[in-house]
């Protein structure tokens, strides 16, 4: 048997390669540059890599092709989501790179290997040590996220899943303050992530058993010709779904979300809340719309029930949270339910609605978490909700921006969230899932309660005597917030430009 070199259209996968290459450069920087110079190199390098990747995505827009021996599909949805991930990656990176907020450095631990509370930790903190490995880690995660929605077979998908997850496990454990909580979160995330990956792999094996291939096109054709054993197919769908539903934090596979979102350093939470969800839903949509679309009558009822459970329970849990990061985590769970509504629609409007939702959700979420990094007291971020009382009097601008993001998450008109919710609900209604729409709208009402409760707290209550304040609003965080706020508003008032782009792009290649 002769070895034949794989045919790869490098131009089409160049955005992913640029990000990977930049990450590798970052590793080299870690190895060869002095500790105190690394930050000055890593930040511009990472951002330059992401900007370049975005420019290249713009350059190859409109591409529709399958490349790398059918392992990667570069088409409208893939490029839209890659673009969104890169831009949100820049916003996340700006938050991660912020060093003007915490008096002792950045949001990350001085020396990750030091045991919490040990002498070594104290020495490292006193020496004002800072680490910069987080930048290449972020870029590796972004590369994995970019590959995830473009993966065109189950193996590539699994590889992308692991490439994006492994750096995130690490990054979750890097918090400078409350390290035990952070390490616990990282470990939980890792263990449960590994557990769910196993489900995914097992499911992939079943699908291979059914169709004799891991490629989406082959699986699709096998379903169309009804070639294999149905039980293998259904078991495969069920198990693969579990793996992906875990990543998008759908009920009942969501339980890691609040713990990890709370424990991880807030910039990392912001980054992964936005980008992981985009990547995972992109992959989800491609697998179900391309590979498994022939079996939609089998998986639609199951996903419908999960969507309803996710929306309702996510919103219910969020109601009684007292920590803003946990509240936003549960809100992210509820949003997964709303996005699933778009997926379940299985029509073109459902796909474009899902894509639009993902983009808008990413920006509002990063914006909201960015504000959480600003509200601080002596021991760091003040994440208890009571600390937000009276924020509107102390820092009206910050409170107004947080209100904007919360209203966006609640889906109030004139914010992007409304347009997005409207898009997925109308798609679901069009496809006949009226029950889903009813649950969706009712849940939106429940969810609006806890978003607006926070706004009421900020503007209509007096601040605590020595409550947390917004002491500084440094440049990089400001840039990230400004970007997110602009997108939230502009897409709320003039959504048409993006709607047209996404509408034109909403077709999977197979």
């Amino acid at each position: 048997m002769n070895f034949v070199a794989p045919v790869i259209n490098y131009s089409q996968v160049l955005p992913i390669l640029i990000v990977l290459g930049t990450a590798l450069l970052g590793v080299i920087v870690e190895a060869f540059f002095a500790r105190d110079r690394r930050y000055q190199i890593q930040v511009p390098l990472s951002i330059a890599g992401l900007v370049l990747a975005f420019v290249w995505i713009l350059k190859i827009r409109g591409t529709t092709s399958i490349t790398a021996e059918s392992a990667v599909a570069i088409d409208g949805p893939a490029l839209v989501l890659q673009g969104a991930i890169v831009i949100l990656g820049i916003a996340g990176l700006l938050l991660i790179a912020e060093r003007k907020l915490d008096s002792s450095g950045d949001a990350f631990v001085a020396q990750a290997a030091a045991i919490p509370g040990s002498e070594a930790e104290r020495t490292a903190t006193l020496a004002k040590l800072t680490q910069t490995e987080v930048f290449p880690l972020t870029l590796f995660a972004i590369a994995g996220m970019m590959l995830f929605p473009a993966a065109n077979d189950l193996v590539t998908m699994f590889v992308a899943l692991e490439v994006l997850s492994l750096p995130l496990y690490l990054m979750s454990g890097l918090a400078r303050r409350r390290r035990l909580l952070s390490q616990e979160a990282a470990l939980k995330y890792f263990l449960l992530g590994a557990f769910s990956s196993a489900f995914f792999l097992y499911g992939a094996a079943f699908l291979y058993g059914y169709s004799g291939s891991v490629g989406f096109r082959q699986i699709r054709e096998a379903i169309q010709t009804n070639a294999g054993n149905d039980v293998f197919l259904l078991t495969g769908i069920a198990l693969v779904s579990v793996g992906l539903l875990f990543k998008v934090s759908a009920v009942p596979f969501h339980s890691w979300t609040p713990d990890v979102y709370q424990g991880a350093p807030t910039p990392v939470t912001a980054f992964m809340a936005a980008c992981t969800k985009i990547a995972a839903f992109g992959a989800f949509a491609r697998l179900f719309y391309v590979g498994l679309s022939g079996a939609r009558w089998d998986w639609r009822p199951m996903l419908t029930v999960i969507a309803i459970a996710t929306m309702v329970l996510g919103a219910l849990w969020a109601l009684t949270q007292t920590d803003i990061k946990r509240m936003l985590a549960y809100s992210s769970v509820a949003h997964s339910g709303f996005i699933l509504t778009g997926i379940v629609a299985t029509n073109k409007a459902g796909l474009s609605g899902t894509l639009f939702y993902l983009v808008t959700y990413g920006f509002t979420t990063i914006g909201a978490f960015a504000i959480v990094t600003l509200v601080r007291n002596a021991s760091g971020e003040a994440t208890h909700i009571s600390g937000y009382a009276g924020l509107g009097k102390r820092s009206p601008w910050i409170a107004m921006l947080l209100s904007l993001f919360l209203l966006g998450l609640a889906g109030i008109p004139l914010t992007s969230g409304f347009v997005a919710k409207f898009a997925v609900f109308s798609a679901a209604y069009e496809s006949g899932s009226t029950a889903l729409v009813i649950f969706g709208v009712l849940t939106s009402a429940i969810a609006a309660f806890f978003y607006i409760r926070l706004i009421v707290l900020m503007f209509f209550q007096d601040p605590e005597e020595d409550g947390p304040t917004v002491a500084a609003v440094p440049l990089m965080t400001t840039a990230a917030i400004a970007l997110c706020a602009t997108v939230t508003l502009v897409l709320g008032i003039l959504p048409n430009a993006l709607v047209h782009v996404i509408d034109a792009a909403s077709r999977f290649v197979f």
Binding site: L192, F195, L234, A238, V242, L316, W317, T320, I446, F449
Partner: protein
């Protein structure tokens, strides 16, 4: 309104400047804030004067054209364009509106000048002038709009300006309440105008004067009746006519120049303008017309009776305003025979009542803002100019020839008798009775203020007002002397307005010879004056209002119980209604909302127990979920 209007050309495009100049003044003064304190009043006065000059230019332009083509229109822009419904924002200047334009800008400018001195010591003088300019602009829009909807904008604008100016000294709760009262009562009238607009739109698909006039005639009698009644409600609100008259007395809380301009000369007459402008509606609806007459008669007597018992000089004048507008409304209700006289009385009243209000202001200015006439007396010595001008206004209002009120009021009484039959006699006699009461209470005001013993407080040092204040009063007095004769001579005003309000109308045979009516009117006036002489000159006026007075006096002092009536019939039930609604809102609506909140909160607490924090629980949950998903997928196959 059947006249077709020439297209805007030449100076007619100046029309928009009539409104724009004062509007600009209001905008500059409000935006510039305290920075314009030094020159704001001068700018406002200058712009109001400029608007008057534009009005005069327009008048001469109009005089140079023939009767039928005197009206000019100017199209500004398409305001509303929704399907078949189109509203053009346009201005219309015809023989009727030019009268108002000149009255508003002329008297308005004089009052601006007066206010420079009157408000000199008020540190908010600039704000006062910005509101005055706002009022002038809105009032001009009201009389220049070429459709009911455009008129409505101005109508609401003057309502706003009136509200702001009544409550100008809103640091006093009573004044703020007065402003609120005026606003609320006016809203009821405004409802009428919006109903009228809705009726016009529903029935005819248009809201322009011309468009509705095209449908006038017996074919649409019912629609026109309803529309006429709605317009009458609007007019009653704005012009303080029965049953919406109660706000005018309290409106005297505003600075006196405001009472002169808005609550005597111009804004309160907007109702008369509305009825006259909508002549095509009322001419097709006799029932509505009869209602107009009834409202006019009731109000003219009502106001006159209230006037007999008021000791507050401004409130006495306010009651008289109400009564005089009753005359105008009565005249307008008489149809083509009366429109011109309504406008004539409106114009002469604008002069003499403004001059009297400014005179009252002058008295107050010299008497430490005292308004109680029982604390005046013998002021003719201290304030000769004020006394003379007020006296001329007095002679005009009671209708002594040859002063202006004689001509206009005489014409109305005459027209009332000419209405024919029993109706003519009833309203004619009522108008005569009103004239007698007017003579009585105005003599009372005159005597109590300027004659008799001095009853001043010890710290009062009455003195004549500065020239800036007396000059406008003198100019207005000239109007109260001459205007009536000018308008009545050769029926000049009647002919001037004929193309707009009374095309093709031929006067019938008079029921009584005009000279008889005039004599009867003069006798009534003489009786009123004589009675007042007996009561207030022969018997010295007491410095404190006597308490043991007849029930009728008490009745009149309390404004014929209008407030008590409103309170019992509208306010109390309204309060009960709001209380009931608020109870419903709290118990039922909020209860449901809070209950739902509590329900979900409780659910949330229960479901939260799943989140134990143990990774083994989470893993078990995932396993459980996976089993469920698997079971669900395979359920159909097994």
């Amino acid at each position: 309104m059947e006249a077709t209007h020439a297209l805007a050309s030449g100076t007619s495009s100046l029309l928009v400047w009539l409104i724009a100049l004062p509007a600009l003044g209001a905008t500059i003064l409000l935006l510039a804030g305290r920075r314009s304190d030094k020159w704001g009043h001068l700018l406002a006065t200058g712009l109001s004067g400029a608007s008057f000059v534009v009005g005069v230019v327009e008048l001469f332009k109009m005089l140079s054209r023939d009767g039928e083509s005197r009206g000019v229109a100017q199209h500004l822009f398409t305001w509303i364009n929704a399907g078949s419904f189109r509203v053009e924002a346009g201005l219309l200047l015809d023989q009727l509106s030019i009268c108002f334009v000149l009255l508003i800008t002329g008297v308005g400018t004089l009052i601006h000048v007066y206010s420079i001195a009157y408000m000199e010591h008020d540190h908010d003088r600039r704000r006062f002038f910005s509101y005055l300019n706002l009022f002038i602009a809105a009032m001009l829009l009201l009389v220049l709009g070429d459709s009911f909807l455009n008129l409505y904008v101005g109508w609401e604008g003057v309502g706003l300006a009136s509200y702001l100016l009544i409550g100008f000294w809103n640091q006093k709760p009573a004044y703020a309440t007065a402003a609120k009262k005026a606003f609320v009562v006016n809203r009821i009238g405004d409802m009428g105008l919006s109903f009228a607009i809705m009726i016009a739109f529903t029935a005819f698909g248009t809201v322009s004067f011309q468009g509705v006039a095209d449908h006038a005639g017996p074919d649409h009698k019912q629609v026109m009746t309803w529309m006429g009644l709605a317009l009458l409600l609007a007019a009653a609100g704005k012009s303080a006519q029965f049953p919406l008259q109660s706000w005018l007395g309290d409106a005297m809380a505003g600075p006196t120049p405001v009472s002169a301009l808005i609550h005597a000369a111009t804004m309160v007459t907007a109702g008369v303008y509305l009825i006259t402008r909508s002549n095509f509606v009322f001419d097709s609806a006799p029932t509505a017309q009869l209602m107009v007459v009834i409202v006019g008669v009731v109000t003219l007597l009502f106001g006159a009776l209230i006037g007999t018992a008021k000791d507050d000089i401004k409130k006495a004048l306010a009651a008289s305003t109400m009564s005089q507008i009753g005359y105008m409304v009565l005249a307008a209700g008489l149809g083509p025979a009366g429109y011109a006289f309504a406008i004539m009385h409106l114009l002469t009243h604008g002069f003499f009542k403004a001059s009297m209000f400014l005179g009252a202001g002058s008295v107050m200015h010299g008497m430490n803002d005292e308004v109680d006439m029982r604390k005046f007396g013998r002021l003719r010595v201290a304030m000769p100019i004020t006394y003379l001008t007020f006296g001329l206004g007095y002679l005009a209002i009671i209708g002594v020839p040859p002063f202006s009120g004689f001509f206009s009021k005489d014409k109305i009484i005459e027209a009332a008798f000419n209405a024919g039959g029993a109706r003519g006699w009833i309203i004619g006699l009522a108008a005569l009775l009103g004239a007698a009461i007017t003579a009585f209470y105005m003599t009372r005001v005159m005597v109590m203020t300027f004659f008799g013993q001095k009853r001043w407080a010890d710290d009062a040092h009455p003195h004549e007002s500065p020239k800036l204040m007396t000059a406008p009063i003198i100019i207005l007095s000239v109007g109260s002397i001459a205007a009536g004769a000018l308008f009545a001579f050769g029926s000049s005003l009647q002919q001037w307005l004929e193309p707009v309000v009374a095309r093709g109308f031929v006067e019938g045979e008079p029921a009584l010879p005009p000279i008889i009516v005039s004599i009867m009117a003069l006798v009534a006036v003489a009786l009123g004056v004589a009675l007042a002489y007996v009561k207030y000159v022969r018997v010295p006026v007491e410095a404190v209002a006597p308490a043991n007075v007849s029930i009728w006096t008490r009745f009149a002092r309390r404004d014929l119980l209008q407030d008590a009536f409103n309170e019992a019939v509208f306010m109390r039930p309204g309060q009960y209604l709001t209380r009931a609604l608020s109870f419903f809102d709290r118990k039922v609506v909020d209860g449901a909302v809070n209950g739902t909140g509590a329900l979900f909160g409780g659910l949330s607490v229960r479901v939260r127990r799943v989140q134990t924090g143990y990774v083994r629980t989470y893993a078990l949950l995932i396993l459980f979920g996976a089993a469920l998903v698997l079971a669900a997928m395979l359920a159909a196959r097994i």
